[in-house]
Point group: C2
Chain length 341, copies 2
Amino acid sequence: LKSSKLIYLNKTSELRSLDKSSCLLIYDLVLEKKFKSFLKSWPRRYGVESGESLKDVKHFPQHIIKILTLAEGVSTKNLHIVSFGGGSVGDFSGFVASVFKRGVELSNIPSTWLAAVDSAHGGKTALNVGPYKNQIGTFYPAQNIFLIKEVLLSQPKERDLEARGEVVKMALLNGQSLYKSLNRVSQPISSNEIWQNLPKLIAGKYTIVAQDPYETKNIRYLLNFGHTIGHVLELQLGLAHGVAVAYGLRFAIEFSRDKGILTELKWLEENLVDCNLPTLKELVLKLKKLKNIESLLAQDKKLSQNKKINFIYVKKPGRCFVKETSISELIHFMKVLKIYG
Amino acid sequence: LKSSKLIYLNKTSELRSLDKSSCLLIYDLVLEKKFKSFLKSWPRRYGVESGESLKDVKHFPQHIIKILTLAEGVSTKNLHIVSFGGGSVGDFSGFVASVFKRGVELSNIPSTWLAAVDSAHGGKTALNVGPYKNQIGTFYPAQNIFLIKEVLLSQPKERDLEARGEVVKMALLNGQSLYKSLNRVSQPISSNEIWQNLPKLIAGKYTIVAQDPYETKNIRYLLNFGHTIGHVLELQLGLAHGVAVAYGLRFAIEFSRDKGILTELKWLEENLVDCNLPTLKELVLKLKKLKNIESLLAQDKKLSQNKKINFIYVKKPGRCFVKETSISELIHFMKVLKIYG
């Protein structure tokens, strides 16, 4: 996998390294108000509504026709697609760049913590097929990833809260050094503090991706930590992705504890409180809202070959691992938690 | 670019190296009658109508939904897409394999000379955006390419005639050794003779692709020899691709001669007659059928940045080159040929 160049900037006005006349900016329409003049500086731009619907393959033909028209007059060799938005815009734009004229240059300007910490890095692009997420995609790393303080700090306050999930995930995956560094921050994590820790968080992701760039060895899969339950909560209760992952992490921690896998429990517990992860009680309340969680889990993984799913357990910070787990084991644990009745 | 394994077989029944239970066969419906029992041996199969419409991105979502359903129960790691058909089926299936679950295994069983000699090799996959051909695609070589005598010799007689275009193209691009070997064959080239020369023709293509796998150096572009005029004839007069290319080659030869570029004219001329390329007179008659060729040429290349196009000239067999040429120069030559009035 080609490596991406990370470029930290304070303001959008400092972004001068690209020849904008051969760029096509694909941006989240929600950014139009706050970044009016920055957007106007790109002669070719395509505003999209972010979210899972943007990634639905059924809309891909219409998008590509518009993008083809907008790109007219720029040679394939010079064309450079720039994504300006969160995870869905990045997944979509990256896929477009990877297949447009058999691949053109790509840069990414993440506008959310989620994208800045996680999805903008590592080259995964994706489209959905109806309700099945990320069934279509490529491995196509952006050449440049611009991390712009002005952009990331302009996010609504609730995004800081949402960032928690992926931030704690990365800390648990990467072990105590990242963990401790995050632990020095106040609670809940403020946007300035996430910005300060961004290089470390990003390095955490690249450490994992480098060991398994094309996800053939179950190492990169670790980045889905907390996503099994998280994804069901996200879809069924409409939770923000990061918040849903935070609940999913709490579930994974408690499940690992129940199995006798988790060690250093006390240390972890104290630190998880600091990170403001949902409590077990909060998790139980959320899970109670789901009807028929067994079929939701099975349905979510409909396309895998059997009733087992790859679940990610935590032994201690820096020691997570993937293990095939049957859905009935998860359900059994939920019964222990008295989620049912 | 990864290299493909070429496997020559006499009969479809000899194809035993793939585990068909994890394969999804995408095949041209036209092959259903002749290969009934072979098709039945693939538990997962998807029949398509071949042609440019198959490649239109607007149909991609429906196809992918069906393919997702058919692939259910096979793990991504094992899934293997097998293309059985001509150029359009191969372009389409290759694209699907390259983006489905971020890339699955791919094999190709070309059923036409065009695909067996040219399009199955070198990893180009493609979809069209309405009338604009191959605007979407990837570089994704098949792991295995099965060249099966029974399949290729079952083509209707007119396909042998159509093969002429790409066969002569490859001979002109690769020079006298391939040329002479072809020249020993009768006229018009019979299917048995194309089969005999297949390894040499294919090697010719790989020689060019190896020098410029991702088409960044104008070398791989040489494979479009004869396609500038050929493509217009194909679209406007509904000629078969190979026949249209044969006319395009005659045009390129005559244009190169007019410019004083072509040497070894007499030798070439004698040999071209042997290869049954259309004569200059036949070319003129065809071109006369086109209305407003200038706008057709401009329109065909709508998406390039100016009124110049990359035209491929021939100096002598084995010495072809690309040069930017204005559309007006081509038109001027047509006036010399008295195509207009």
